[in-house]
Symmetry: C2
DNA sequence: CGGTGCGTTGACATTTCTCAACTGTTGTGG
DNA sequence: CCACAACAGTTGAGAAATGTCAACGCACCG
């Protein structure tokens, strides 16, 4: 049951870093790994919240289905992010669906039961949870800001600029952690609009794209588009 | 310094309800009331996070200024809501601006210093904070959903349906907690678009408006608009 | 009583969506 | 290992939604 590797991996999470070794080991007991194929379900809305998760590898999409059957993407989560802590801490059931976006997605699943027992008895874990929830708040706030920016154009520029870059040298190179259609869903625009925007920017020499790879040729202009909604 | 009234008022907050009386009194010590005029600043972005707040009366707007000088409303907070807890718990400075929207807004201000001392020593308070932060998560998630709904039309319908109603009897009567221009900012649309949508719905007999008062005449249709983006 | 700002309305420009067709890519079973 | 199905991505044309700019009435406040 006990897995020393899991404890070691948990230590690398920002909000667990400060936790003492014994607590991490206690957490790791009752945790297990899950490897998922693209599209595989982690949990569904309405299901009892029996565990929360850490993304080790790949991307997970958290979404809801709106009344008209559309999928509302709430979040795309990459490596090192935790999710569903709030559900485990304060809700009987999951409030959304979660599926693996990329193939070979690896998660650490932390069972609710043992976790809650620890949470109730160990105040250090409560502090870690507060910091973890705060990180969620920050990221959701950014999401609200991102969506509230009026134009789809500015939203896309905004998103690209926040994407972690690959190379410090030369032109800015970015790599999408998921398919373009997922990016479109994230930005609340249609795939067609995304495609057209990228083409226009490419024609204007602002960037070059090849699959999921983006090479930003004129970062200054991209910033201007994100900020002032300057045209291209 | 000690104010029994404040302690009594804190007890009515959802996440403080479970706290024992001695802890509430300790919290109330070091808290003070603030009454604000419309537009008065509670705190500004970048300022040291020296306190968090409880809304007793009125509405507070939390917003950021984007690079192009526009105001991005992150949240409108009504009676009973707390805000800036996350800032006090995990950040050196406030990450956004907060101002009173309505005149005569009353807040309870809870100083960070004493609060953090309590937080670190009393595990019950940590649990209360986790529940408070979770409530924020839920409300931000709703906000993301609200904004991600493609059309402004559906967003408005969605918002009206979530607004607490006044009368159980007869037609649904709602009252906006702030001016229409604030509603427009909240929905990320222009005041002109808001005005035109309301006029169209009024002409169609869907609702009646008078200032901030809304009388919903055809709730079913409004739900359909929010869900399927049915036309009017 | 005059200003200041909210709300409304009109005309027009622009953005984005929808629908439809087509191409390229990927993964899989034969 | 190939052929084909399924799906991602692109492109075009036209429709619909929303923003912009401008003007004006109206209420509230000093």
């Amino acid at each position: 049951m006990f897995d020393a590797t899991i404890a070691a991996e948990l230590r690398f999470l920002p909000h667990f870093r400060a936790l003492p070794a014994d607590l991490l080991q206690a957490l790791a007991t009752g945790a297990r790994r899950r490897t998922l194929a693209a599209g595989e379900v982690v949990f569904s809305e309405g299901e009892p919240a029996r565990a929360f998760y850490v993304v080790r590898q790949g991307t997970v999409k958290v979404y809801r289905i709106s009344a008209d059957g559309r999928e509302q993407v709430l979040h795309h989560l990459g490596e090192g992010r935790t999710f569903a802590e709030a559900a485990v801490l304060t809700m009987p059931v999951y409030p959304a669906h979660a599926v693996a976006v990329t193939g070979g997605t690896e998660l650490i699943e932390i069972g609710a039961e043992r976790f809650l027992a620890l949470f109730r008895t160990d105040p250090r874990l409560a502090a870690a949870m507060v910091s973890s929830l705060s990180m969620w708040l920050i990221s959701l706030t950014e999401r609200v800001e991102e969506l509230a920016v009026a134009s789809a154009t500015a939203r896309l520029a905004h998103y690209l600029l926040r994407l972690p870059s690959k190379l410090a040298q030369g032109p800015l190179v970015l790599e999408l952690p998921f398919a373009k259609k997922d990016l479109a869903a994230h930005l609340a625009i249609t795939p067609e609009t995304l495609s057209r925007l990228l083409r226009r920017w490419q024609d204007a020499g602002l960037l070059r794209t090849e699959g999921r790879r983006f090479e930003i040729l004129d970062e200054r202009l991209l910033v201007a588009i994100a900020d002032r909604d300057e045209k291209v």
